[in-house]
C-alpha cells in the first residue's frame, strides 16, 4: 500500500456550535470527524463557551476540494459572530479513498 495525500482541516470553535458544525461538515462531504476538548483565547473577547470553560477542536480528513469548501463555509457563516478559527494542512494516509471518497 502506498501513501496518498489528503487534507486535514482543524476547526477550533466554542462548544455550543458542535451540532451545527458537524451537520455542516457532513453536508459538505466529510466522512468522519474527531473532537477534542480544549480551551484558549484569541483576538475576540469572551464568548458564551468561556465561562462553561470549553472550546472544541474538530478535525476532519477530507479531499482538497472539500477542505477548501469547508474553510469558505466557516469564513462566511461563523467567523463574523462566533469564536471560530480553522486551518488546513496536507497529511499522508494509507487508503486515501476512505477520506477522499
Amino acid at each position: 500500500m502506498e501513501l496518498t495525500t489528503v487534507k486535514l482541516v482543524t476547526i477550533i470553535a466554542e462548544a455550543v456550535l458542535e451540532e451545527r458544525i458537524l451537520h455542516d461538515l457532513r453536508q459538505l462531504g466529510a466522512r468522519g470527524y474527531t473532537i477534542g476538548e480544549v480551551r484558549g483565547s484569541g483576538t475576540r473577547g469572551i464568548h458564551a463557551s468561556e465561562w462553561e470553560g470549553k472550546n472544541l477542536r474538530i478535525e476532519t480528513l477530507v479531499g482538497p476540494e472539500v477542505a477548501e469548501q469547508i474553510l469558505q463555509h466557516l469564513a462566511n457563516n461563523y467567523f463574523p459572530y462566533f469564536a471560530v478559527i480553522a486551518y488546513a494542512t496536507d497529511v499522508q494516509v494509507m487508503r486515501g479513498t476512505k477520506f477522499r471518497g
Binding site: 455550543v16 473577547g45 469572551i46
Partner: protein, 323 residues
C-alpha cells in the same frame, strides 16, 4: 427580624462565604481550579435534586392551590422580558440583539439562586409551598422565547438559527432534569424518596456550597469586563432584579402564595438565567455581545441577589403580606 439582621444571617451562611472565597481565589490569581466535570456534575445534581424534592412534595400536596401561582408565574415570564427589552432599548440605547439578549436572561430564572433562597428561608425558619420547583420550570423557557420573538420581529437577527434554538430550549438539560426529577419524585413518592435522600437531600447544601465556590470564581472573571460594560449595564443589573423581585412577590401574594412562597417567586423573577439563556441566545442571537449579558447576569446580578437580594425580597414579602 430587621433587614440588617437578615442580611447578616445570609452573608454568614457557608454558601455565600464559599462564593466570596471563589471571588478571592480569582482576584489573587490562585491556581485553584475546579474541574469542569465537577462543575457539570454539580449542576446536574442540583437540578435533579431540586426536581426530586419538588416532585415528592407535589405527591403529597393538593394541586388545588397550584393553578393560581402557575398562571402568575407564566404571566411574569411574559411581562418581564418585554419590560426588560424596552428599558434596555429606550434607556440603554442598546442594539436590538443586546437588548433582546438581556430580556431573555432576566426573564428566565437561575436555579441556583432558587436553591439559595430555599436554604435562606430554611435558616430563617420560614416555610414555603412544596411545588415551587414546578414554578422554576414554568418560568425558565417562556421569557427566552418571547425575547427571541421580539428580536425576530424587530428584524435584528437574520443570522441566528432560532428554530434550532427553540428546539434545544425545550429539551435543554435544565428543563429535562427539573421536570424529570419532579416526575420521578412524584411517582416514587416519600417512600422511594427516602432511599435516595442521603444523596439528594442531606448533601444538598454542601453541594450547593461547593458549586458556589466555583460560581464565585466564574463571576469574578466577569468583573474585569465591568469597566467596559458601562454605567447603564451596572444600573440595569441591579435595578432590574429589584423591580422584578417586587413584581414576583406581588404576583405571588395575589396568587395566594404563602410568605415563603411569595419570597421565592420574587427571587425567581429577580434572578437572571445563566444556563439556559446564554446557550439559547448564543445560537439565536450570535451578534449579541456575550461580554454584555454574561457580565450583567453572572458578574453583577447573581452576586447581588445572593448577598442582598434574598433578604431584600423576603422583607418586601413581609411588607406586602405581613408575617
Amino acid at each position: 427580624m430587621a433587614i440588617v439582621e437578615l442580611v447578616q444571617i445570609n452573608l454568614l451562611s457557608p454558601m455565600v462565604l464559599a462564593f466570596a472565597l471563589g471571588i478571592v481565589a480569582t482576584l489573587v490569581h490562585s491556581d485553584l481550579k475546579l474541574p469542569d466535570e465537577l462543575y457539570t456534575t454539580l449542576s446536574i445534581y442540583l437540578l435533579l435534586a431540586i426536581g426530586l424534592k419538588g416532585g415528592i412534595a407535589l405527591s403529597q400536596t393538593s394541586l388545588a392551590a397550584f393553578w393560581a401561582p402557575a398562571i402568575a408565574t407564566l404571566a411574569l415570564g411574559l411581562i418581564i422580558p418585554v419590560i426588560a427589552y424596552t428599558v434596555a432599548r429606550r434607556l440603554g440605547r442598546l442594539s436590538i440583539a443586546d437588548a433582546a439578549a438581556l430580556a431573555a436572561h432576566y426573564g428566565s430564572v437561575s436555579a441556583v439562586t432558587f436553591a439559595a433562597s430555599q436554604t435562606f428561608l430554611d435558616t430563617v425558619g420560614v416555610r414555603y409551598e412544596g411545588f415551587m420547583p414546578a414554578l422554576v420550570a414554568i418560568l425558565e423557557v417562556p421569557a427566552i422565547v418571547i425575547a427571541l420573538l421580539i428580536a425576530q420581529m424587530a428584524g435584528g437577527q437574520q443570522d441566528g438559527d432560532w428554530r434550532e434554538a427553540l428546539r434545544e430550549l425545550v429539551t435543554s438539560k435544565s428543563i429535562l432534569l427539573l421536570v424529570g426529577g419532579m416526575i420521578i419524585g412524584w411517582l416514587a413518592g416519600p417512600h422511594g424518596g427516602k432511599e435516595v435522600a442521603p444523596l439528594f437531600v442531606d448533601l444538598f447544601k454542601g453541594a450547593l456550597t461547593f458549586f458556589l465556590l466555583e460560581l464565585g470564581m466564574v463571576a469574578a472573571r466577569r468583573f474585569r469586563d465591568l469597566p467596559s460594560a458601562g454605567w447603564f449595564l451596572l444600573g440595569f443589573a441591579i435595578m432590574m432584579p429589584v423591580f422584578n423581585g417586587f413584581l414576583g412577590v406581588w404576583f405571588g401574594s395575589m396568587a395566594g402564595l404563602s410568605l415563603g412562597g411569595s419570597t421565592i417567586l420574587g427571587v425567581l423573577a429577580a434572578s437572571a438565567s445563566y444556563i439556559a439563556a446564554p446557550a439559547a441566545v448564543r445560537i439565536a442571537l450570535p451578534q449579541a455581545n456575550p461580554g454584555f449579558y454574561l457580565t450583567a447576569a453572572l458578574g453583577i446580578t447573581f452576586p447581588f441577589n445572593l448577598a442582598l437580594g434574598l433578604p431584600l425580597y423576603y422583607t418586601l414579602a413581609t411588607w406586602i403580606i405581613g408575617s
